[in-house]
Subunit: 195 residues, 2 copies
DNA sequence: ACACAGCTTGACACGGCGTCAAGTTGACAG
DNA sequence: CTGTCAACTTGACGCCGTGTCAAGCTGTGT
């Protein structure tokens, strides 16, 4: 993979990202045009649409430093704090990947690869949730009727992209309101009453 | 619209419903085949795919008596009871329409008509949520930091189809567990602490 | 005997994705 | 200076699913 090759690849990924972010349907030809290359050159770099989308998320992850941001909650002294920090980190990351996420989710039904790629990212988020749950349990604050898994399921679901989409885009909430309410809700969902 | 016409129409709607319910991608030709007619006859009854899907939901609503079921919560004596009854009614309705809902949601991006049809149904659900919120507020139990609208947004989001999908299908929850936890969560989301 | 509604058969256009074959261009090696 | 090779271009094509069009068949009602 020569220098020129890498350069074009980056241009493609950036183009894809920008187009997806600005919404609407995005065709392969749109991306090629925006990247300033022919449609066929696109296929030389990414054999299928799914490949391109997957590569775009990986690229975004690199540029935006997800891992580091999601790991920030590790510094927390308590389970509650860890949960709050995680909600903040992930919740603020969603808008940055929303365009790509949407495209990937739309392909889930029809494309195995897209489905796996998205499931993978969601697994990473779930691990963040699980870590917070674990710490909360260690603090003796986990609601008694919930198992670790069930509690993880709950906050993982609360923090899903469709929920963000609904509250922010359909209901018109501000990002700040979303984060604040999600912190409260996730706590209410899994912390023992009176805890 | 003669008798024969109506009969075929019903066969089509039933076929569409069964296929959508059993999952996977469903093409117009699949529906025609299942209904025992030609693909073209299908287009004589429903000019577009969106039309067919919309008609299928309306048909389901009739057969399944949604309105009546959602209205059941009106009998409630208290806001909390009303909320619980509504969660139960809607939460148990979701699995019955899930197949069609999925198809309709998948078309949201590309088709205006599908988007409107789905938004319409969701509006009906939202009204149910709003009614419960109203009654809870009247009981003096609405969490003080929430407006009526914000509270409605919250439980409406909690009760969304994607959340049901995630908990039941991804996380493997039983329907019973889903309903029970949703009752608890919606309460925790909007009822004043210690209420 | 005729009309007409409801259907069938078979062909076609279109938009996206993905593929194929035959160039062009520019850098670098001998 | 020549040859090679990688990166890219141009233009055509196949596939698939939706939606359209035209012509013909069939049973019922008048």
């Amino acid at each position: 993979m020569s220098r020129q090759n890498q350069k074009t690849r980056d241009r493609i990924l950036t183009a894809a990202w920008q187009l997806l972010e600005s919404g609407g349907t995005v065709r392969m030809s749109d991306i090629a045009k925006k990247a300033g290359i022919s449609r066929q050159a696109l296929y030389l770099h990414f054999p299928t649409r799914a490949d391109l989308l997957v590569a775009t998320t990986r690229h975004l992850d690199l540029v935006k430093n997800v891992d580091e941001r999601l790991a920030a909650s590790r510094a927390a002294a308590s389970g509650r704090e860890r949960l709050a920090l995680f909600v903040e980190a992930w919740g603020n990351y969603i808008p940055e990947i929303y365009g790509v996420a949407r495209a990937l989710m739309a392909m889930e039904d029809s494309d195995e690869e897209a489905r796996n790629a998205w499931a993978d990212r969601m697994r990473a988020v779930r691990e963040g949730c699980a870590a917070a749950v674990m710490m909360i349990e260690a603090d003796g604050l986990l609601a008694p009727h919930l198992s670790r898994d069930t509690a993880t399921d709950l906050i993982w679901t609360l923090l899903s992209v469709p929920n963000w989409e609904r509250l922010r885009l359909n209901c018109g909430w501000s990002q700040q309101a979303y984060i604040a309410e999600m912190k409260r809700l996730t706590e209410a969902a899994i912390i023992a009453p009176g805890g």
